[in-house]
C-alpha cells in the first residue's frame, strides 16, 4: 500500500513522516513519532485524552487523519513547557493536586490552555463547559476547575 508523505510543524519544529491514509493524527503522534503524552482513551472523540491544537484550534487527535496535517501546525502537551519552565497551568495543576492517576491530565492541560488563550477571565461555568469534552474519573473535576480559575487569575496579574 502506498503511504502518504506528510510535512508539518509539531510544537514549532518541522516534522516529516510517512503514514497510511487511515492512520489518525493520534496514531502517528504516538506510534510513529513517540509523542505519547497524548493518550487514547476512546478513539471516538468522547474523552479528550488526546486533545491537541491544530492551527491553534482545540481538537481530538483521534478524530484527525494524519494526512490532514500537511502544511498545518500541531501542538501537543510535549510543547507546553518551555525549557525547564512549566506553563503556569502545569504548575497550578501540581499546586492544586488537580490530578490523581494523571492519564487525563495532558488533555485537560492542552484544553485549558486553549481556553485561557481565548478568554483570560472565564467563569466557573465557562471553564466547566469548555472542559466538558475531557473526562476525568478520579478527581470529580473540583481541583481541576480550581486550578484553571487560579491560573487565569494569576496570569491576569
Amino acid at each position: 500500500m502506498t503511504r502518504e508523505h506528510i510535512t508539518t510543524t509539531i510544537n514549532g519544529d518541522p516534522v516529516e513522516f510517512l503514514c497510511d491514509a487511515e492512520q489518525t493524527l493520534l496514531d502517528v503522534l504516538r506510534d510513529e513519532l513517540r509523542l505519547t503524552g497524548s493518550k487514547e482513551g476512546c478513539a471516538s472523540g468522547d474523552c479528550g485524552a488526546c486533545s491537541v491544537t491544530l492551527d491553534g484550534r482545540l481538537v481530538c487527535a483521534c478524530l484527525v487523519l494524519a494526512a490532514e496535517v500537511e502544511g498545518h501546525e500541531v501542538t501537543t502537551i510535549e510543547g507546553m513547557a518551555v525549557g525547564d519552565q512549566l506553563h503556569p497551568l502545569q504548575q497550578k495543576f501540581l499546586d492544586h493536586a488537580a490530578l490523581q492517576c494523571g492519564v487525563c491530565t495532558p488533555g485537560f492541560l492542552v484544553a485549558a490552555k486553549a481556553l485561557l488563550d481565548r478568554n483570560s477571565n472565564p467563569t466557573e461555568t465557562e471553564v466547566r463547559f469548555w472542559l466538558a469534552g475531557n473526562l476525568c474519573r478520579c478527581t470529580g473535576y473540583d481541583k481541576i476547575v480550581r486550578a484553571v480559575l487560579d491560573t487565569a487569575a494569576e496570569m491576569r496579574g
Binding site: T2, E4, D20, A21, E22, T24, A43, S44, G45, D46, G48, S51, L54, R57, L58, V59, C60, C62, L63, V64, L65, A67, E68, E70, A111, A114, L115, F129, W130, L131, A132, G133, N134
Partner: protein, 286 residues
Amino acid sequence: MRYEVPETKGEAVSLLAMAEGGGRVLAGGTDLLVQLRSGMVKPDVVVDIKKIVETREITAENGGFRVGAAVTGAELDEHKALKKLWPGVVEAVELIGSTQIQGRASMGGNLCNASPAADTVPALIAAGAQCHIAGPDGERTLPVEEFCTGPGVTNLQTGEFLVSFTLPSRPPHSGDAYLRFIPRTEMDIAVVGVGVSLSLDSNGICVAARVGLGAVAATALLVAEAADALIGTSVDEGAIENMISAIRSACRPIDDKRGTIVYRTQVSGVLAGRACRIALQRAEQS
C-alpha cells in the same frame, strides 16, 4: 484506502464519481473517523473538501448568508453577524459535542451524516435553509428538510457533495431558537431536538413560522401543523399549547437506548414550548 485533497469542486466531483460510491467526503471528520475506526465504513477513497474555498467561507448574500458546508462550529460561533441573524441555528451547531468537536465539526457534516438526532437539522429546517449541491450534472439546490431520506441515507447521488448552505434574510421582529434534551449537560446525542423560527408583524401577530423536530422520526421533520398553530396568533400560551399538541402528534419515535417513545413524545412538546418562548422573545427584541 486513498486520501485525496481536491482544490476545486470539479476535482472533488470527479474523484467521487470515479469511486462509484466507494468514496466518502471528509469535512470535520468527527463522524467519519469514528465510522472508519469501527469498520462501519470501508471507503476506497476519502475526499477532503476543506481545500475547496466555497466549503470554508461565510459570505453575506442578499441579506442572508452563504455558509460553507465545512465551516466549523467554532468558526460559526465567532461570526457575530451570522449569530445575530440566526442565533438558533448557531446555538444548534454549538451543541454538537465538545469544544474539541466544535473545532472540527461542520453543519455540512452534521447534515450529511443523516442522523435523525442531528442537532443542526431541526434548526436549519426551521430557518428555511437551502443546500447547494455540486455534482457531475452541475449544481442543484434543495431545501434542508428534503436532504435526508432516512437514517444514514441522503438525497445525494453518486459524484455529488454538499458545498454550502443558504441561510435566508429575515424581516424585522423575527427570532429563532433551538433546544435539545440530553441526560447530561454535554457530550450526549439529542433525545429530542426542536427548532422554532417565527416572524411577527408590528402588532405582534405571528405572520410566519417554521418548526423543525429532531430525533423522533427516521429523519428530522418540518411540522407544518405546529407552525400553523402559531401563525395568526400573538403566540400566547394558548397558541403555544396548540403548537405543543401538534408537535406531539407529529412524533413517530422509537424506543432505544437513548429514550422511550413515551418519553420522547412528552419531552418534544416541553422543548417545543420552551424554544417557542425564546424565539418569541428574540422576535420581540429584534
